[in-house]
Amino acid sequence: MIRFENVSKVYARGARPALDDVSVDVSRGEFVFLVGASGSGKSTFLRLVLREERPTGGRVYVAGRDLSRLSSWKVPSLRRSIGVVFQDFRLLPNKTVHENVAFALQVIGKPRHTISTTVPEVLEMVGLDGKEKRMPHELSGGEQQRVAIARAFVNRPQILLADEPTGNLDPTTSLGIMRLLDRINRTGTTVVMATHDDEIVNEMRKRVVELSTGSVVRDEIDAVYGHRESILPAVGQTPVLDAPGRDAPAVVHRVQVTPEPADLEAERAAEAAAARAAESGDQQPAAALPAAPAVEDRPVDQRPVAQAPVEPVGPPAADRVPEPGSPDDVVQQVLREHERVRAGREA
């Protein structure tokens, strides 16, 4: 679905390449985490997939198209097969939830009746049923991200790119967003997510591609985030920030918040929608992840993967089956898992 062949990207002549001879192959229906410090090339990777940039060297293939040969008037059709979600949501502040999602279909010229049926469907899927008329500023961060995901997914793209979609959200809300992305992945959509959130990566147990100064240093399936301190740059002791320095004590005091009731409600609604879809046999069975070639650039022992700071707890999140009819249980479960993950971290 996405193939990078020895791709390099140099923004300014003489500058350090943002991507340096990167080869990655993402199959249809895969869920891939892209991890690495700021400036490691994650965003460049996503921009190349979207053809917002052209590679300086190498080939990029997306959805069967050779992007280096794609003429610019065909770029819109490429982008119609890709959905994108950002850390800052990028909703239109003067449009309602419904209008924001409908906008994505309007501007590609979809007929009105298609819009009026598709938008409520996708809003129900993300758990925002009944909030169509709200403005973005009336929603919590988690709900706004759900709108953004609905907008990205409303045209049923083959690929969903997410650039730190949980970067602005608290852990519990993030978990809800991840369950949503997972659900989208199960419909057969390829998901590539750039993130700094080790907790989420560890819990999801998906394929992880780690970039460092523009090179792939790790590509593992069913993987964990890795040693946080080796991925993120040392910034000294900052208990509030997510990135403690190398010498910081093992125990990190994270800011703990109680999730917004609205986010929990959205999560409940989304789970209920998924359950309904599963009951009516609408939903595709969870796609078995194709075995991606694990490109090991380095011997494993050189990487601190084995000493993951978090013990994998319980079954991977992807295997959880929501109990139909008891959405409250789901929320409780989310909260419990959150607690468990934190306990694991502090252990």
Partner: protein, 303 residues
């Protein structure tokens, strides 16, 4: 769907940048009024030329008694001289001269008494005070010079006079006025282009969020840029229509109602001429808008 969506976007854009849009309309209005005024003045000059050049003739005045001109050294033009001149006009100037009319002294006196039955400024004149002349009607009044070259300096010809010379100062004045208007129009058009460019840029920047999302979800280039182009075009078009309206009012009230009453023997520009200029003005307005949008949008909303 598409059309309705684009129109909504256009309306929103126009509303959001109202003051800029108004200034675009005004600048286009003023500049196109100048363009139109220049065009109308040119039309007026052409009309006058058409009317008056049909009437004007080249007069070849023959030597009277006691003329001081060198060609009249032998005194009054003789019959032979007149016959010879007639011969020359018939042969050498046959292609240039459409009609020849010989006005004898008696004819001239007749015309004079008709004009001044009581004598001129109290002096009673006779036919002998008049001057005989050839009146030549030219095929093309502009070819006066050819006639002058052939006839001037011949024996018996005192002076060759082009009646057009009488009108020339008026035409020069009108020509300069229309040049002035065209010059001002040029400056104003430049201002209009810059202002439309700025307005479109402002509009594009203020809607960067929308256009960014449009590009991401795969809206085509045309779809992203069309609302901006239409905004510029609509503003310019309104300006052009105002200019046509302004010119129509000016022609109706200044020329037809007022000037024509005062001086009624002249053919003036009329409303039809304004309507003839209108497509030109609208065309210029649309061209302005399209050129400025293409230049700006390629820089600000490229995929």
């Amino acid at each position: 769907m598409r059309l309705q969506f684009v129109l909504t976007e256009v309306l929103n854009g126009l509303r959001r940048n109202l003051s800029m849009v108004v200034s675009v309309i005004l600048v286009t209005f003023v500049s196109l009024t100048f363009v139109g005024a220049a065009a109308l003045m040119q039309t007026q000059v052409d009309k006058l030329k058409g009317d008056w050049y049909d009437l004007v003739e080249v007069s070849v005045f023959l030597c009277p008694d006691g003329s001081t001109a060198p060609t009249c050294a032998e005194g009054e033009a003789t019959e032979e001289q007149i016959a010879e001149l007639e011969q020359v006009i018939d042969t050498e100037l046959s292609t240039v001269v459409e009609q020849t009319y010989f006005e004898s002294k008696a004819d001239a006196f007749g015309a004079f008494t008709e004009l001044y039955p009581d004598g001129y400024q109290g002096t009673q004149l006779t036919a002998d005070d008049m001057q005989a002349s050839f009146r030549l009607k030219l095929v093309d009044p502009e070819q006066y010079q050819v006639v002058d070259d052939v006839l001037e300096g011949r024996a018996g010809v005192e002076v060759v006079e082009d009646q057009r010379a009488v009108f020339e100062p008026l035409f020069v004045a009108l020509g300069r006025a229309s040049m002035l208007a065209a010059g001002l129009a040029g400056v104003m058009l430049l201002a209009a282009v810059l202002l439309i460019t700025t307005t479109i840029r402002l509009s594009a920047v203020s809607r960067r969020r929308e256009t960014g999302i449009m590009r991401l979800v795969g809206a085509s280039n045309l779809f992203v840029q069309l609302p901006f182009m239409l905004e510029g075009a609509i503003a310019a078009l309104i300006g052009a229509l105002l200019a046509v309206g302004g010119l129509w009012l000016a022609v109706q009230y200044l020329v037809l109602d007022w000037l024509q009453d005062a001086v009624d023997w002249v053919a003036y520009v009329d409303v039809g001429d304004v309507l003839a200029v209108a497509p030109l003005l609208i065309g210029i307005a649309v061209l302005l808008a399209v050129v400025s949008s293409v230049v700006t949008l390629n820089r600000y909303t490229r995929v």
